[in-house]
Symmetry: C2
Subunit: 238 residues, 2 copies
């Protein structure tokens, strides 16, 4: 028997939870028998949704009645305690009981509780929110999408490495082209942080990715760039 990937799922986060979350698990299980779901949340609500839909060998429910609300501030969410479905799901990764954690819940709380529990990779100062955006040729990794309103050149440089690493995990045979989202493609345009980041990335010449300079908003869909780096304010609004 192959070893399954263990996915910790916060069943109580997001609109329409836990039904929408459990439906997602059922949907995934139909095409992928290689995942094991560690489901954190209210057993009385979750069990009726999943029983007889998925074989019991694929999941386990970890009961808790406490949950972070979508209206909580990040700090309020963290302060709800160590027995919320989100906290327990994250903790299972920390304790190496799970390989990865998924939550559709309060994004700010997810960041804060994750950072508290899992800490940062050495030399990386801030976490970032990332997503895959479609382009004319495939998909681009885009970050940060709102975790950090104001970013330093160090942060943006870190995001370039983090985005390239994510891209490489998705497309192991490719070297990522990384670009900074800016208001022009010429070196002299943009704010001071952007220009400083440009210098850092241009001088560093990372072996893990190619630095392609700036990308303008109207070229995001062209597919020439695999990783698009931005501060969280601009990335979120775009």
């Amino acid at each position: 028997m192959s070893v399954k990937i263990k996915i910790a799922v916060d069943a109580m986060g997001g609109d329409g939870s836990p039904k929408k979350v459990i439906d997602g698990i059922i949907h995934n299980n139909q095409s992928n028998k290689n995942n094991f779901y560690k489901i954190f949340g209210d057993k009385n609500k979750i069990s009726p949704l999943i029983e007889n839909k998925i074989n019991k060998e694929f999941y386990e429910i970890f009961h808790t009645e406490n949950a972070i609300k979508s209206t909580d501030s990040p700090l309020e969410g963290a302060k709800r305690g160590k027995d919320t479905s989100m906290w327990l799901a994250i903790q299972s990764v920390k304790e190496k009981q799970a390989d990865i954690v998924i939550s559709a819940g309060n994004t700010g709380a997810l960041l804060v509780v994750s950072k508290l529990n899992l800490k940062m990779i050495e030399n990386i100062d801030k976490p970032a929110l990332s997503a895959l955006w479609p382009n004319k040729k495939g998909m681009s990794v885009v970050l940060d999408l709102g975790a950090n309103i104001e970013c330093s050149a160090k942060n943006l440089s870190d995001f370039s490495s983090m985005g390239a690493a994510l891209y490489n995990s998705l497309y192991p045979d490719e070297i990522a082209n990384v670009a900074l989202l800016n208001i022009g493609s010429e070196e002299l345009k943009g704010n001071e942080v952007i220009k400083e980041t440009y210098q850092i990335l241009n001088d560093k010449k990372s072996v893990n990715f190619n630095f392609s300079g700036y990308i303008e908003g109207n070229h995001l869909m062209d597919g020439e760039v695999d990783v698009i780096v931005s501060d969280g304010f601009t990335g979120n609004t775009v």
Copy 2:
């Protein structure tokens, strides 16, 4: 005979000039006989494009061979002298020979030369670039689209008044709903400048527009807001 609106046109700016610019004039003249075009640029290139296409009562060509290039920096453009097609077109507004100036040329130079010649309205510190964006119900005025990389709360507050004035000139019977582009609709989200602007606009209660608070990027097309205010960096990339 009614008095025509006098439009100063920089014929030498933008890709495909002067042909594209002159084609635009011809196109406009077909449906609107109320405009008179003061065309600034190289007469030898312009005349063959417009002769026999438009009656001579609708236009006059002001010859100059000097023009600002798209590759000029704003300052380089301004330094090309007072006989460029763009400078002369702007100057005709200053001298009240024209009511309005249009250029598809170097945007940075257009801003700098306009500010030098026409000055700012009293109490307004910075000009802004604006456009009309379609939404589900009509059009929204959006500004700033790239003139000002970094903006103070005073600037964003000014842009609100300027955008509302533009909206009112287009739709005289409506009171504009003005909103600030932000990463969330709650008061506590965003950077310090955005929050300070929120306070200014909320306290001021302008009679010229309704302040509707924040708008998120995913609601730009909803049509609930008539004027969308942003710093130039975010506005340009969005």
